[in-house]
Symmetry: C2
Subunit: 1008 residues, 2 copies
């Protein structure tokens, strides 16, 4: 730490504070509604949550009924009254009893929230915005204008967004000649401060391409470029400045690449006024910054960087935690402040090639930049300061006074997209660690506010209690904590590279004969069935040997021999085989994924997550067995010792589907195995090569012979034989309702020599609905419905095949959905640019096409994507409207990319429709009504209900998966009750009293 | 506290100690094997347990193989060597490596344990005993002689016990004239000490009547009298003295009554030398003593009392705790000492009419008696002192010195029955609170040993930590602790009186028409079936209305309407209905029992415990629902909230058997109801009147209409209709395998309109075996097998119907079993004297008789009790030998009092036979081999295994009940997994992040 510099920074900061003493940002002004409400929110965390959520939904509340209902739902306490603070300003209209008429209260709240929103927006209309910008300039501030509305779900919306920019540029073009340049120390009097364009635009690149995704950097950059270039061209024509904003981490790589491509594009290479944003809170920014400067020097191109701390801290952290990734942001606030100072210095050191925009409201950070620039003799023309419009007014004023170069970041546009921005701003103002809150609301001491963040960090770390072994991170009672296998992170280039490489690898060695695996030995048969790539039938993955009755007998005999040993292997040892298998699968994860991509047409991420789920099952069931493997003492009576424990049922027939060919198969097999039941596994013929992956994993893990037997075979030859065999004690089946019910019936017939009642665990179909409530966040709902319905071609039992839309929002939702669905890319799943691939097999293709005919008869086709490859098992993505609840298309499971849209009068009506099938597997609700969400929790009766998110992708442990009614028997895979179904409980009672003498145990209920 | 007296007591005690200073009981003499072993046992609790258990089994270890195996199993540590202390005395034979040859070690241990046993016994043979008694008299001690062997399981054994007394009296008669009277202050020189007979006999009354039981005081007293009178007659003829010992609490009342009857019997009324024992440790003894003295004064008859502290303290406490009774003994040792002093004073105050024998080894207690007697001027001729033979030698010597009147309690007889006595003595010597241990082994200070026990108690209570709310007695997480309903306590006269009164009450009002109960209303039908008393067909209990298809429809409709409300009633509220129902049942317990006694022929206790089990189910499932009713958060990822919870399945058809007509019925119904599933209940026609009890209980508890519907009906008319009905979601069945399998098959067929897969919970039959190992305690094994096989006429699915006896013990066990079974009383269950009653119905009678014919063909009838009432559904109790494992009688469930006996070569062979049926419900093992017990735990694969006790009577929570294979589907009633089967799990996942803002919850896995 340079103590001299630090002292100067603190001194500068003190001066800064002094110069604005007594002022406060308008948002904290308690003379007004907003200030009062902010104050209350900072004191009351649950009010804050409700307030921010209410602000979020507010733009959707167009009717008086809707507004008053939401006010009540969000804010009414037990006394059925809303907090006084919200009603402030409507005092004069108080009734005799001090109660407002609801109309007046609504009006007050509406007016105030709109005013609060407008505070951060330079205008809702273009004209208003341009006027606002002119006014700011008159006050001495430069601007950069930003169009609200980053969420574009379709190319049409992306076009509109582009057009919005062109429109505001047009409007500015008509005015900007009238604007006087702001004075400064630079040379060109037509430029602001003598060196920078008056017109300055900021843009969020992801909004310019609805199909942008991190797995496809090149495609995403191209898509964005196609709309950014016209904008930049216009900016250049106007002699303006363009800044490419940095959004969440998943767009980081494409944004950096976009900047490089645009900066080096021959058309624009000569034009210097292009900036990019870096976020100091990202751990990778030091590296990105160094890279960028190095690149600029190599290219000999001047660049410009706006350095911010970052506005998505909560989200990045939550997303990382949810996905099992390292948290990408600094986890202590001072660490971001330190990074900001460090990176600012790097930029300033490179001021010859890099223009710097310091964007912070933090007076310490600003002072640091000022003093560092001074120390490094950076000319004023090489850096500027930026703050957000409507925020931190004292800071902008102070900056204007001291630096004379302040640019305001000015969003404009509709309130609806604007609310996302508003919520971020409110968060920034009210977070406990917010500099603004601490400075202007909490009255933290100046010394602390200006403290070197390195010191702050040290103090915070020292004050932090040592992490306690709370049983949660340490695991419980010696059982290691379960953690889901991490989701694939496509922001990591190595992850993206691994897929093509794994695919190429298996391609180089596939095509041979795959044997059965019985009693630990490969068994080849004459009879084989080939398995092929559904995107390209001519590509054969393997010839799969087929078990006949003799092989089933051999497998059952092997399993029986194994049973007598395996059942007495300790739970710990059995669990260890699962742990080892998980290790093997984790090591082979890309290879295992590649098989699925080629055999059933899974997309990269879908395939990887299938493998991850399989690993999770292995890890979770192993832990569950450790838990359940411990005998429990029952009761506490002295002289009596009761122990409850579990034993395996016998031999398990595992019959699995092709859609989660690894995860579901190994999940069922692992559950059976770890509980002590040897397995005879019959995979689906559609995914038999992936089925063989289980053999590969278990063999490598050293599972004893006979415990797992791989028996693919023709159902017509050996299906019933296996199910009906008296040696089979349980049947674990996942698949269609028809087959599941047939198995249950067959298994209920006791065969000669059968020694036990067969247990059937059947996970069957679904006809899953997502309800779109009238206040649903459509930016979210459209994308999640799309994913739920068409992810992996809709071939998930959890997939959404009905979307039930409440009337008032029907048109808005459906039109956006259709456009979004119209734009997704369809083609081989091998290519990560494609959103949807072929269905898994030609028979399935035929079936789906039949249902599309039914859809055409029963309803109105809203979308039918016939722009699909001619070869391979492709089917048109289809959305059908005018569907009634009793239509076949609304009742039967299709298992393909066919989505029925139903209209409901009310939310209750939607629930009624949703519950109105024989199935009860998954469901979803998009709503921002607390009462409707609560009602859905109770009354949307499905196995897995998802609120405000997609309804596929249940994770082991976190979302135990499975349904009831005709969707299944009420088991739940990956949940705490699952393994119980594989075991029979036993209780051993010992009378420990002999001759009147009973040893007393510690946990006896002995005399007090 | 009389401080003067107390000081004198302490002074006297000090003198006493002084007079014996330096001496110690021989058992603590560390110069010998016993002393060393006792010393080690007192230092090492687990060794003590093993030692006492080994001593218990020791007399059965007749072969070298058996002895060495048990030594290894009981004492070998990890180093596979037995503790050195056990081998002491065999030192000279040590091998080179310090290891004994096993032969020599065995011999050493055998010799030493026999010597230890003999130490407490005056002789094993009569002749040896009489010689021993003469020797004691020469040493100045009087005696009272006691014949070991209190456990008599048959009348033949009771006869033998009586004859043993007559034999020893004969032998004494031949000798006693030669004995000089002991000198004393009394007047008659032919009497000991001048006033008491030389011949003195103590006797345990329970041993004189194998059918003694507390429920039948009068019958028990008569049975005992029949064998005691000849003994007493002989004692009187010899001018001797008889003392009736007090045994465990269950014999207390009959012993007191026995004393009164014998004392007032015209034949003996004139003869004063009859004594009874009172136990100071019983809380009721103050009352008993006062009563006895009052009675003596009323009768104007002198009496004699031996006051002891009591030798069954552990057992009384354990039995009370296991049965849910108040602990009948003082729970603090000083309380018993206080009671002893208090009661001794009362007796001494009444010395004019009550002769006193002070029987204690406690020098404080003895001193207290001496000083109190002195204070009260009690003549020496009115009290004496007693100690046990072989115990506390210094005390007896001191007593002889000081009082001159010491009688030794002298057991004699075989080692096998003697070992029970030996274990009690070892316990008495080694217990932490033992006066002998404290005085002579631990070296406790004399002041403490002689302290007034009142003071000791106060100190102990003060030192005791306040009871901590440990979650165990308080219940867990707000759910009240579950406690089993108390067993019936027939030592309480009110309990005995309640049954005849309840029976009379229902008799006075029975006979009418019992309606169905549908939708909260009585429904009468034309069609009725009468239900009668199986002991007396002419006694009709009721005409039961019969549901047809229309009534089933009505019930299902009512249940369906109720379902839509009931499923959303909170778990707490549903649980409360069960709590209320339990309250009602508890209040009506005797009435509910009476119905079973008359309708299905249950014995009083069996009926009461059936009701108690029903109450337990209500209480337990209510608590289980409170536990399971709380949604669980799954995973801890921030921004995501997953809740796992359960919902009811739908309508439950409950089809119950007649053998536990209340418990099983209300258990299944309660489980369904509390989990939210309305019930249509079809009772067995054999117990339909008891079935109606459910209606009565639930109606009184206020259960809403339609939640419980009572639908008795003919299976042929409505059985399949109910099972196959599409509205039925689950079928809870308990009954035969045939019906259970049929239901499973029927339920697997999906009917038109059916919306769910039906769940069948089927508890079916058993063919339960008890294994008798070669070291089994036959005193226990015979009685427990008897109860397991013939309790409630063998009509329990848990009943023992095979006893598998290991060869070496076969003859001894079987002969005792047959004799015991030959003596039990058979007749109406209404009469508590009867052990066995009629089977429940004439069809069952026919079935059992058919099986008896099979038994006669397949094996050799060992016992067939044809001495049964001619009227009513009686069947002969039958035991059949020479049965092979594959015989029908060894494979098929009979459900009646027919027991097959099978011989096994080894314990492993016995296990193989035991496991060799299609059933796996209950099993039992009587063994004292630690390894065999451990092996049985693992390999005796049944739902409920019982070690060293009967295998019926599973208690809710303590012994979750149910089997697998063809015995059931692996559910366990009354266990922690039971309710899960009645519900479908649901998981609701909420994405709590909106606009990048996620409220962080306390249990989130947020950043550290």
């Amino acid at each position: 730490m340079d103590t001299g510099l630090d002292a100067r920074i603190v001194g500068r900061g003190k001066e800064f504070f002094k110069s604005i003493s007594g002022e406060a940002p308008s948002i904290f002004n308690k003379g007004w509604w907003t200030g009062k409400v902010m104050d209350w929110a900072m004191q009351n965390e649950s009010f804050k949550v409700q307030l921010f959520r209410f602000v979020d939904v507010f733009p959707y509340l167009n009717t008086s009924e809707s507004l008053s209902r939401h006010i009540r739902e969000y804010f009414s306490g037990e006394d059925n009254d809303v907090p006084a603070v919200l009603k402030w300003g409507a005092g004069k209209a108080d009734g005799l009893l001090g109660k407002l008429t609801s109309g007046i209260m609504e009006k007050t709240i509406r007016t105030n929230i709109e005013a609060m929103g407008r505070q951060f927006i330079v205008g809702q209309e273009t004209k208003e915005a341009v006027k606002g910008l002119a006014k700011l300039r008159k006050d001495g501030f430069a601007f950069t204008v930003d169009l609200l509305g980053e969420a574009t779900v379709s190319e049409e919306e992306a076009d509109a967004y582009r057009d919005g920019y062109l429109e505001v540029l047009d409007a500015i073009e008509r005015e900007h000649d009238k604007w006087k340049a702001l004075p400064g120390k630079g040379g060109d009097s037509s430029l602001d401060w003598g060196f920078t364009p008056k017109v300055n635009v900021s843009i969020k690149p992801s909004a310019l391409f609805s199909q942008a995704k991190s797995v496809d950097v090149d495609g995403s950059v191209k898509g964005i470029m196609s709309r950014l270039v016209p904008i930049y061209r216009k900016v250049m024509a106007m002699g303006g400045f363009l800044c490419i904003d940095m959004e969440s981490l998943k767009y980081r790589e494409m944004t950096l690449e976009l900047y490089r491509r645009l900066r080096t594009d021959p058309e624009f290479r000569h034009y210097p006024h292009l900036s990019i944003v870096l976020q100091a809170y990202l751990r990778c920014t030091d590296h990105d910054l160094a890279d960028l400067i190095k690149w600029a020097r190599t290219e000999r191109l001047p660049i410009a960087i706006r350095l911010v701390k970052g506005a998505y801290w909560d989200m990045e952290t939550v997303v990382a935690k949810q996905n099992g990734w390292d948290v990408p942001v600094w986890t202590h606030k001072p660490e971001s402040d330190i990074a900001f100072e460090r990176q600012a210095r790097v930029i300033l050191e490179n001021h010859d090639i890099c223009y710097f925009a310091c964007a912070s409201h933090n007076i310490r950070s600003i002072s640091s930049v000022m003093e560092t620039a001074h120390e490094l003799n950076v000319p004023d023309t090489r850096y500027e300061f930026q703050v957000l419009y409507g925020m931190a007014e004292p800071v902008r004023k102070g900056l204007l006074n001291v630096a004379g170069r302040v640019r305001l970041y000015c969003p404009y546009g509709d309130l609806i997209p604007g609310m996302a921005y508003l919520v971020r701003r409110l968060l920034e103002n009210t977070a406990n660690e917010s500099f603004l809150r601490q400075s202007f609301a909490d009255g933290t001491e100046m010394e602390r506010l200006l403290e070197n963040p390195q010191k702050t960090l040290e103090r915070e770390l020292a004050a932090k209690p040592a992490p306690k072994p709370d049983g949660f991170h340490e695991g419980v009672e010696g059982i290691p904590l379960f953690v889901n296998d991490a989701m694939i992170d496509f922001t990591v280039p190595e992850a993206r590279a691994a897929f093509p490489s794994a695919i190429a690898d298996i391609r180089s060695r596939m095509g041979g004969k795959i044997p059965l695996y019985i009693d630990g030995k490969d068994v080849f048969t004459e009879d084989v069935i080939p398995t092929t790539n559904p995107a390209n039938y001519s590509e054969k993955l393997a010839d799969i040997c087929q078990a006949g009755v003799a092989e089933v007998d051999a497998a059952l005999n092997a399993a029986e021999r194994a049973f007598y040993i395996w059942r007495d292997v300790s739970p710990e040892d059995r669990a260890n085989y699962l742990f080892k298998s998980a290790e093997v699968a984790r090591r082979k994860a890309y290879e295992l994924s590649a098989w699925q991509i080629l055999e059933v047409g899974k997309q990269w991420d879908q395939a990887f997550h299938d493998v991850g789920e399989g690993i999770d099952f292995l890890e979770y069931y192993a832990r569950e067995m450790l838990r359940l493997g411990r005998p429990r003492r029952m009761g506490r009576a002295p002289g009596e010792h009761n122990q409850l424990f579990y034993q395996p049922k016998g031999i398990a027939a595992v019959i699995s589907p092709w859609n989660f060919p690894f995860a579901i198969s190994i999940g069922m097999a692992a559950a059976a195995i770890v509980t002590g039941n040897p397995v005879v596994f019959k995979p689906s013929s559609i995914s038999a090569r992936v089925g063989y992956n289980l053999t590969e994993v278990f063999r490598e893990a050293g599972l004893p012979a006979g415990v797992f037997n791989f028996c693919p075979g023709r159902s017509s030859v050996m299906g019933d034989y296996l199910i009906e065999h008296p040696k089979v004690s349980m049947i674990c089946f996942t698949g269609s309702m028809e087959v599941g019910l047939r198995i249950q019936n067959k298994a209920s017939v006791v065969q000669p020599g059968q020694m036990q009642c067969k247990r059937v665990i059947a996970e069957m179909g679904g006809k899953n609905a997502i309800i779109i409530d009238d206040d649903a966040d459509l930016d979210e709902a459209v994308l999640h419905v799309l994913y739920s319905a068409f992810g992996f071609q809709g071939q998930k039992c959890s997939a959404c095949s009905r979307v039930i839309v409440v009337e008032p929002i029907y048109e808005r939702f459906v039109s956006r959905l259709i456009k979004a669905a119209g734009d997704i890319k369809i083609g081989p799943s091998e290519n990560p640019a494609n959103y949807m691939g072929p269905v898994a097999d030609v028979t399935l293709q035929k079936n789906v096409n039949e249902y599309i005919k039914v859809a055409e008869q029963e309803g109105t086709i809203l979308l039918k994507r016939t722009d699909i490859p001619a070869e391979g098992a492709y089917v048109p993505l289809t959305i059908v409207g005018d569907i009634q609840p009793d239509h076949r298309i609304a009742q039967e499971e299709i298992f393909g990319p066919v989505l029925a849209v139903l209209k409901a009068k009310t939310f209750d009506h939607a629930l009624e429709i949703a519950n109105g099938t024989r199935f009860a597997l998954t469901g979803g609700v998009f709503s921002r009504s607390p009462e409707h969400l609560e009602k859905a929790r109770r009354e949307f009766r499905v196995g897995n209900l998802y609120l405000n998110r997609n309804n596929t992708g249940a994770l082991v442990e976190r979302q135990p998966f499975g349904g009831f009614k005709m969707s299944g028997v009420g088991s739940k895979t990956g949940g705490p009750d699952y393994l119980l179904q594989f075991m029979d409980p036993r209780c051993v009672t010992e009378n420990t009293m002999r001759r009147g003498f009973a040893p007393i145990e510690e946990d006896d209920d002995w005399i007090a």
